[in-house]
Symmetry: C2
Subunit: 188 residues, 2 copies
């Protein structure tokens, strides 16, 4: 998606080896009009899969997911990273975060992810794929179908995209980062 | 806002003394069309304050905030509850969570909250007001002005609304819960 790629090249910063900072328009400060345009593009790419629900994971997946849900008129569920004390009948799994060097639990109330649902997963970043694989596991635990996985930015030099596509999943990323070496952002 | 009040009475549940569960349409599973209608109403109520930025706090404030930002065409920043390793020049403060019985740190990059900005704070719930007061403190640290605070649901029997309004802040809540006793939801 040209609008996003141009913005990454203009406002993204490569900080240290392999880290792309887009916190001025994607995941700390957000540009809602760009977010809306990206949601529209994701909705277009996954329309044929006829999803019945959008799933994401807190926190930075929520903004793109709610806007995709709005465009597609679908309920949106976000997986939580800690088990709320008032939540019962949950689907849970463990995810290892490379950024934080620790394992954490993610969960979704079983009432909001049911057998037979056609799930579209949306997140801001696809890197090693751990969060996405964790959510895929929750969808499978529920007996639901993952019909598509859409990301704003994919790090093409990490394994997440390959791991998901190898399973035959439809994966779409609006921008794919080819490399981040020597402080330079290269897009595919 | 009638649409929200009707939905709370239909789908909200009172679980235990003082706890309102709206996780089937607000803060776990979200109804994006209701969210859009609520954002439109908040945008209308705060238009005259001419905000230049929307501020919220992760995670469940993000959905209403991004949609308000979209309606008002303003950048949206969400305060984070943990200090990201790649973030520098931060404004931070501490917030005590009654739900989790512990204190946590919230932070915003100084680059995204600047002197002279007119900030509209948006969140899903106003209860004891601790998260809102923490964000107010960040806005003041930045030398910015808090021109309004909008909430989807306020618990009128807790002190948050009073604490904020006593400071002369413009506070708007789309639904105010009067009481949650004996398993019954009463709205103002």
């Amino acid at each position: 998606m040209k609008q996003l790629k141009d913005r990454i090249l203009r406002d993204g910063r490569c900080v240290g080896e392999g880290i792309l900072k887009v916190d001025n328009f994607i995941n700390h400060q957000m540009d809602p009009l760009l977010m809306e345009a990206m949601a529209e593009e994701l909705a277009r790419r996954f329309e044929a899969e006829r999803p019945t629900k959008v799933l994401t994971i807190e926190a930075s997946g929520i903004a793109p997911a709610i806007m995709v849900g709005c465009k597609m008129q679908l309920p949106v569920v976000f997986a939580k990273k800690a088990r709320p004390s008032t939540m019962q009948g949950m689907l849970t799994t463990k995810v290892f975060s490379f950024t934080k060097s620790r394992e954490y639990e993610i969960c979704v109330a079983g009432a909001y992810l049911r057998q037979g649902e056609r799930v579209l997963f949306i997140d801001d970043f696809l890197a090693n794929g751990n969060a996405a694989l964790g959510c895929l596991e929750l969808v499978r635990q529920a007996g639901a179908d993952m019909v598509g996985m859409g990301f704003l930015i994919e790090k093409g030099f990490q394994q997440g995209g390959r791991l998901l596509r190898e399973q035959g999943l439809k994966v779409e990323s609006l921008a794919i980062v080819e490399s981040l070496s020597e402080g330079k952002i290269e897009l595919r």
